[in-house]
């Protein structure tokens, strides 16, 4: 097992770990990854991955519109809104 780059992982997960906790999580992750490493022993060369135990869907929609809610239903929990928009600090690209 290679070393865990906790900064990169928390960046991917959009988390800003306080520096004093970085080591805590880093060690914890190392332990868990080491613990699950036993899977590498299993021969799966002839096995297909299983995404889900149900393998065939019965839910495919026809292309039809239904409006089941109003704008306010979607915005009622917004921390900040302006008219019918969600409002956030300016995004710079």
């Amino acid at each position: 097992m290679s070393d865990i780059d906790i900064k990169r992982i928390s960046y991917l997960a959009k988390l800003k770990l306080p520096s004093e906790k970085e080591e805590f999580y880093s060690n914890s992750l190392k332990d868990i990854i080491k613990w699950v490493d036993n899977l590498k022993k299993v021969d799966t060369s002839k096995t297909e991955p299983l995404h889900n135990v149900t393998e065939k869907t019965v839910s495919i929609r026809n292309d039809e519109v239904s409006k089941s809610n109003c704008v306010d239903d979607v915005l009622s929990n917004a921390p900040e809104r302006a008219q019918n928009f969600f409002k956030v600090p300016k995004v710079v690209e």
Partner: protein, 479 residues
């Protein structure tokens, strides 16, 4: 010296599909609505909401498969592409990754005088993101999720393109095909068709260089500008001893320049994995076959038909097939009348299209006037009226000012085709023209034109030129 350099370009084209509802929710798929009007709990990524696939999107993908010569896959899988963005409510985009619905297609494009085959690696279905509006307030952005979940077909070409012109030709061909099969409205301004351009440069014959991706170009003009700028930018870097960094670029439409997007602390890692809320899509051959008839005639089929069955000139045929609505109008006129297709085609690409352009009309808006148009064309081809008179009446017919036959009468434009009357006029015209008659008999064809003109003038332009011609020749040869 940039003429030692060549560009290598691959295109990722995002086409919005013209479905009624979204890819995974039943909200309306509609442009130009009030903010957040077309958003439901699925689109806004509320806790516990689940996607349900819209089969309309699968049908449109299959049609595209036929039109772009793809292999249509019976097994495809939706995966999650994980990244954070304010316009992306779920924190991931549902897309296809390892198993796309279409793979290995191609189209032929014009390249100079030749055709070039552009190979297409794959096309997959995915969700569009929402939109942030940055210019209302200096400190805030406003988020409108209406576009969230709009179905996109991302069409990914191989790096087979090697000039801005080829890229434009490729894009127009794609646009033409997608509009023909009625899966995309082709409106680039509204973002219905957008291109990511992957460009690298190399000295002729050398290995591929490092590529940069210019994101989200939504007009032919910008595509051309961006390519030319980026081509030169990369050459300059290498000529200056530098190296190209693999980057995602934005095209600034105001300056015509490309620039790297705000550099990220770490590179992207989308962590694709099969969406556990959705199961793989299995299609039967029967389901795929059933969709084939709805593909209809493609531009190339029409071109062949026009050349072989209607003997059109290639240039004219090409103009007619550019858009399906042109071809539809043309074919409607053929089926409704017995005017020669070639004659119809000439008028269509000439005066009729000119009228449409001048008046800023949709081609489709003439669909209910085809009977009048062909009636008029009939009058012209039967020599009831002259070409010139036809040109005069056409705009009035197109404006709905009256039926062609009535207009001809009202305006007094009927041709004189009575040979007795014409003979009289011609005989008068030949009086005192002995010298010219001798010239004609001496072999000067130019004199014939002179006589025809003189006779036409005498009929005040209403004489049937063909008939005049015929009678004149008889008279002259007898003398």
């Amino acid at each position: 010296m940039s003429n030692n350099w060549e560009m290598v370009i691959g295109l990722e084209v995002h086409a919005q599909l013209k479905t009624s509802s979204k890819l995974f929710s039943s909200s309306p798929n509609q442009f130009g609505s009030e903010p957040n009007e077309n958003v439901n709990f699925i689109d806004s990524g509320m806790p516990g909401m689940l996607p349900v696939l819209n089969f309309g999107c699968i049908e449109m993908a299959i049609k595209t498969g036929y039109a772009l010569n793809f292999k249509i896959n019976k097994y495809s899988v939706f995966e999650r592409k994980n990244y954070f963005y304010p316009d992306l409510p779920q924190g991931y985009q549902i897309s296809q990754f390892e198993f796309p619905i279409l793979s290995e297609g191609f189209i032929n494009i014009d390249s100079g005088d030749n055709q070039k085959k552009i190979r297409i690696e794959r096309a997959h279905l995915e969700q569009d993101a929402g939109k942030s509006i940055h210019d209302i307030d200096p400190k805030y952005s406003f988020i409108d999720l209406n576009r969230v979940g709009t179905p996109l077909l991302e069409i990914v070409s191989y790096p087979d393109l090697s000039s801005a012109d080829e890229v434009i030709n490729y894009m127009s061909s794609l646009r033409q095909l997608l509009m023909y099969i009625d899966v995309c409205d082709g409106n680039m301004q509204e973002g219905s068709l957008r291109a990511d351009v992957n460009l690298s440069v190399r000295k002729k014959g050398q290995e591929l260089g490092t590529r940069c991706e210019i994101k989200n170009l939504n007009s032919f003009k910008f595509i051309k500008q961006a390519i030319e700028y980026e081509f030169q930018r990369q050459i300059n870097i290498i000529d200056g001893g530098g190296e190209i960094e693999q980057n995602t670029m934005l095209f600034d439409t105001s300056t015509g320049e490309t620039r790297a997007m705000r550099s990220k602390e770490f590179s992207h890692d989308y962590r694709y994995f099969p969406d556990p809320d959705l199961l793989p899509v299995y299609l039967s051959q029967e389901q795929i076959d059933k969709i084939k008839p709805s593909v209809g005639e493609l531009p190339q089929d029409k071109l062949n038909k026009y050349l072989d069955n209607y003997s059109l000139d290639k240039d004219i045929a090409k103009i007619i097939i550019t858009e399906k609505q042109n071809a539809n109008l043309f074919e409607k006129m053929i089926s409704e009348s017995n005017v020669k297709p070639k004659f119809i085609a000439a008028w269509l690409v000439g005066d009729i299209f000119a009228f449409i352009k001048e008046n800023n009309l949709e081609v489709n808006s003439l669909n209910d006037k085809t009977k009048d148009i062909t009636d008029l064309l009939r009058l012209i081809s039967d020599d009831v009226i002259s070409n010139k008179a036809g040109k005069e009446i056409l705009p009035k017919v197109l404006n709905g000012e009256g039926k062609p036959s009535e207009l001809v009468k009202v305006l007094g434009l009927e041709q004189v085709s009575d040979s007795g009357e014409l003979e009289k006029i011609i005989d008068e015209a030949l009086v005192g023209e002995e010298e010219n008659i001798l010239k004609f008999q001496g072999g000067s064809d130019r004199v014939l034109g002179y006589f025809v003109g003189k006779c036409l003038k005498a009929t005040k332009g209403k004489g049937n030129p063909k008939l005049i011609n015929k009678i004149l020749l008889e008279r002259l040869n007898k003398k």
